[in-house]
């Protein structure tokens, strides 16, 4: 309980510093929503329903549905992610990790709670809007159980994304580099925003079993799209999230045990 109070204080502290520039904060909020909406615009313009009716058998509404679904998990992930993005530079090279280790709190939670990307939360609203709109077009009616699945799978998706990037961060304990190998993985998230079958077999395999971004939106979304052929993957989403979290946790602990300060 005490730890939770401290993390809330971390959050409050961050909020104060972020709201120094109120105008920019609200501009960021709108800007982030723009990026989310911009991806939608691409799909809407591309699949205009007249000349282009579908992408490999996936209709405009289905593609939009998956894209909107992906915004839910990625929005939650990006809210917590800024320090993972800068981790190697800020904590290892500039040596801030020393300070983290001196405090009697979990090192990973400290890193995650020292900085937020609150603007990203705007995309949860965009995502929900799109899921409801596209869902309506597809004639999907939501039962209470469906809503539970939506929440569970969105959280699972966020956990998968966090786990992958925590694991990548833990590598920077072993070899130092300002930027690290994470940037291409951030781009790989984009693959998870579209129906997986449009990609070739190799990419589908990678997105299912190696960097499991297929579970961030596409597989869990098939629950609503009535594509039974993916049901094992679909309902396996929470288990995949758990497996990723375990790997990331051990990776992180092992990395921390190898940490040697840059000194100063």
């Amino acid at each position: 309980m005490k730890a939770v109070r401290i993390y809330l204080a971390y959050f409050a502290q961050f909020l104060k510093s972020r709201l120094v520039y109120k105008g920019d904060f609200f501009a960021s909020l709108i800007g982030t929503a723009f990026i989310g909406a911009g991806g939608l615009l691409f799909i809407i313009f591309l699949i205009d329903g007249e000349t282009v009716k579908a992408i490999k058998g996936w209709s405009r509404s289905e593609v939009l549905f998956v894209y909107g679904y992906s915004l839910l998990a990625t929005a939650m992930f990006s809210t917590l992610a800024p320090n993972l993005y800068n981790f190697a530079d800020r904590y290892i090279i500039q040596g801030e990790f020393d300070r983290v280790l001196l405090r009697p709190l979990n090192s990973l939670c400290q890193v995650l709670f020292e900085s937020f990307n609150l603007e990203s939360l705007a995309n949860i609203l965009v995502g929900l809007g799109v899921v409801l709109y596209a869902g309506g077009k597809l004639g999907i009616t939501l039962t209470a159980l469906d809503l539970v699945w939506l929440v569970v799978s969105a959280f699972s998706g966020a956990v998968i994304l966090l786990s992958v990037f925590i694991f990548l961060c833990s590598l920077s304990f072993h070899w130092e580099d300002k930027i690290g190998i994470a940037p291409p993985f951030y781009n790989m998230i984009n693959f998870g925003r579209y129906p997986l079958p449009i990609f070739n077999n190799l990419i589908q395999f990678i997105l299912s079993w190696i960097v499991p971004f297929g579970f961030v939106a596409f597989y869990p979304a098939t629950h609503f799209l009535g594509r039974d052929e993916f049901r094992y993957y679909c309902y396996g989403t929470p288990f995949m999230a758990l497996a990723c979290l375990i790997v990331a946790w051990f990776g992180w602990q092992f990395g921390v045990s190898r940490y040697s300060s840059t000194g100063n």
Binding site: S28, G31, G38, I179, I181, P183, N187, Y194
Partner: protein, 288 residues
């Protein structure tokens, strides 16, 4: 020789000398940008992978779009092969023309270091553009060509439509660089009244990709949107160079396009100058 001619000769000499020394100063900024980029290492490998992934996503989407059509069929004026070329060459060119002038200005304003540039006897606008030029040249020398090579090996990309087409593609990409750099400068100017412009820069990143035609050729936009894009300068960044590459520009249109390019560069230059002068006279410094 009379006095007037002598004075004119002196003035011409002075102009020549100051022009030469100016060029030396700005050449220094090119060198600076170049050396800054050299400081990164792993960034090359991850950078190449990043571009490969960006093109891959687009490649599969377009392949999916054309999966219902007969081989060689065109959609809105583009065959699948042309579209793959459009996307691949578009991203390769982007690795050259993109710039971070807005970030640089935002940083200078945030830290207060902007004050140094107020007392330097150089043109702030030109300095930033030349600095970006250095970075872009660095990317061509070390970054764009391995990206190009990787992408050309992986995806079936067409050759340029002809020698003139390729020349105009290169020229237009250079224009695209200048247009984007100046647009970024204008975005950076917003940092003076707003102090922090993360939000705007974030939105801009994607909006430029869409409006410049990098993601979709202009023919794919709805009519009302398209007619707006035809008027705005963003198409000069990506769409126009790619039209040249694919040989979709009639030679009779070239003069008109070049005129538009020059006109927009001038308009953006004076807009940038206006906002810089305005910011200059109202500047409050943070920190010190």
């Amino acid at each position: 020789m009379n006095a007037e001619a002598l004075a004119a000769g002196k003035a011409a000499f002075a102009f020549d000398r100051s022009f030469k020394s100016d060029m030396r100063i700005y050449a220094g900024f090119i060198r600076n940008g170049f050396l800054n980029m050299l400081a990164y290492r792993l960034r090359y490998v991850t950078g190449i992978l990043t571009y490969l992934l960006l093109v891959s996503v687009q490649f599969f989407i377009w392949q999916g779009v054309y999966s219902d059509s007969a081989a060689g069929a065109t959609i809105k004026g583009y065959s699948l092969s042309e579209m793959i070329t459009y996307v691949a060459i578009g991203w390769i060119a982007r690795s050259f023309y993109h710039s971070n002038i807005d970030y640089d200005i935002a940083d200078l304003v945030r830290t207060g270091q902007i004050s140094i540039y107020l007392i330097r006897p150089v043109n702030f606008q030109l300095m930033l553009i030349f600095n970006s030029m250095g970075e872009s040249l660095f990317r061509i020398a070390c970054f764009s060509w391995p990206i190009a090579l990787t992408i050309l090996l992986v995806f079936p990309v067409q050759l340029p439509a002809g020698l003139l087409a390729f020349f105009m593609f290169c020229f237009s990409t250079l224009v695209g660089f200048i247009v984007l750099a100046q647009f970024n400068f204008l975005i950076g100017m917003a940092a003076f009244p707003l102090k922090s412009i993360q939000g705007i820069m974030r939105a801009k990143y994607f909006i430029i990709q869409l409006l410049s035609g990098l993601l979709l050729p202009l023919t794919f936009f709805p009519d009302w949107f398209r007619s707006a894009l035809e008027v705005l300068p963003f198409k000069l960044i990506s769409y126009i160079p790619l039209q040249f590459y694919l040989g979709k520009v009639d030679s009779s249109q070239i003069a008109g396009i070049v005129l538009t390019q020059v006109a927009w560069i001038a308009v953006l230059w004076f807009a940038g100058r206006y906002f810089w002068m305005r910011a200059f006279s109202r500047l409050t410094l943070q920190g010190g």
